[in-house]
Symmetry: C2
Subunit: 201 residues, 2 copies
C-alpha cells in the first residue's frame, strides 16, 4: 500500500490471470478490481478506463516476442529445412502458450482495433520469415497460399484444442497428437519445398 507502481502491477497481473482463466469476454473493470483486490477507482486513476488498461497490458507484454527463433537461417540451409523449422516452431508456440490462444480468440471475435495491433505484433516475426520464402524461392507455386493454409491450420487446431480432445482422429491434448501434427507438417514441407531451389540472379 502507498506504492503506486506495486498497485499497478497488481492490477495488470489481475488482468493477466483473468484473461488466462476466463478470456477477454468477461474482462470488466469490476472483475479486474475484484481479482486484483484493488478498488476500481484506482484503475480509472492509473489507466483512465478499460481501454487504457487493456492497451498498457497488451503493449507491455513480452509474450509477443517468443516467435520461433529456432529457424535456421544460414546461407547453406536448404529451404525445406527452414520451412520445417518455422512451422514446427509455430506449432509449439501456439500449443504451448494458452495466453496467446486467448488473444487470437479475442482477435477473431471482437471489433476492438487494439486486438489487431496486438495480432500484428504476434505475427510480426513470422511474417518476415515467410516473406523470405516468396522472395527467394524460384518456383511457379503460390508459396504464400501454402504457408497461409498451414499456418492457419496450426492456429485453428491449437484453438480448438482448448475445447475438444480430438479433431478428425487426432488427439489434440496428448503428446501423441502433437507428434502426429509435427510429423505431418514436416512431411508437407518435404512435399512442398522439397524440389524448390534458390532463385537465380
Amino acid at each position: 500500500m502507498g506504492n503506486r507502481e506495486e498497485t499497478e502491477t497488481r492490477i495488470l497481473e489481475g488482468v493477466d490471470r483473468l484473461i488466462r482463466e476466463k478470456g477477454f469476454s468477461s474482462l470488466g473493470i469490476n472483475a479486474v478490481a475484484r481479482e486484483s483486490g484493488v478498488s476500481k477507482v484506482l484503475i480509472y486513476r492509473y489507466f483512465e478506463n478499460r481501454d487504457g488498461l487493456l492497451r498498457t497490458w497488451a503493449l507491455g507484454k513480452h509474450y509477443w516476442n517468443d516467435a520461433p527463433g529456432g529457424a535456421p537461417s544460414g546461407e547453406g540451409v536448404p529451404w525445406q529445412e527452414r520451412a520445417t523449422a518455422l512451422f514446427e516452431g509455430q506449432l509449439d508456440r501456439l500449443f504451448g502458450n494458452p495466453l496467446l490462444r486467448e488473444v487470437i480468440r479475442w482477435h477473431l471475435s471482437s471489433d476492438d482495433p487494439l486486438s489487431r495491433d496486438v495480432m500484428d505484433r504476434i505475427e510480426e516475426k513470422g511474417k518476415g520469415l515467410t516473406q523470405e520464402f516468396s522472395d527467394n524461392l524460384d518456383t511457379q507455386e503460390d508459396v504464400n497460399a501454402f504457408v497461409s493454409l498451414l499456418i492457419g491450420g496450426i492456429y485453428y487446431l491449437a484453438l480448438i484444442s482448448d475445447k475438444t480432445d480430438q479433431f478428425n482422429g487426432i488427439p489434440l491434448k496428448s503428446d501423441e497428437g502433437r507428434t502426429r501434427l509435427r510429423d505431418g507438417v514436416t512431411r508437407l514441407c518435404g512435399l512442398i519445398f522439397g524440389e524448390m531451389t534458390k532463385k537465380g540472379p
Copy 2:
C-alpha cells in the same frame, strides 16, 4: 398477433438476424425481444429461457446440412480428385456462409456445450468423407494429420476474413484470394494424394 407459431418464427428470425450482425456475444433475451419486436415474456413462455431459445434455434437449422455434396464418390474416381472436391467444397462453404462462421466463432470462445453439439452436426458429413480416406487408402502417410491441418487452415482463414483484408499476402475478401487458396488446396491435394492407391485386399 394472436398466433403463437408466427410469433415463434418472428423470434427465431430475430435471433438469426442478431447473430449474423453481432455474433453470439451480444445475444441476450432483451436484445432478441427488441430485435424481434416482441415482448420478452413471450420468449420465456415459448422457449423457457435463453438456453432453450438457443437450442431450438440451433437444432431447427437447415444450414448445417449444406456440407460439400459435390464430392464425387463413384468407384472409378481417383482419390486425389475426391480430396480436391472435398476441400474446395469446404472452402466455398466457409467463405460463403457468414452465419456458419459466427457459429464456429461461438464454439471457439464459449463454454456452452450446445455449441459442441452444433459443431458436431456441422462437421458430421465432412467427417464421414475424411473417414473414407483413412479407411481406403493404402499409404504410410498420416492422412488424418494432413486433412486436419488443411481443414483447420480453411476454417481459420475464413474466420479472419471477417476481420482483416489480407493474410500473409493473400487478399481474403476478393475473388483473387479465393482463387489462389482454391488453387493452393488443389495443388496440395496433388502433392499429397497424387501417388496414393486404393488399399488392396
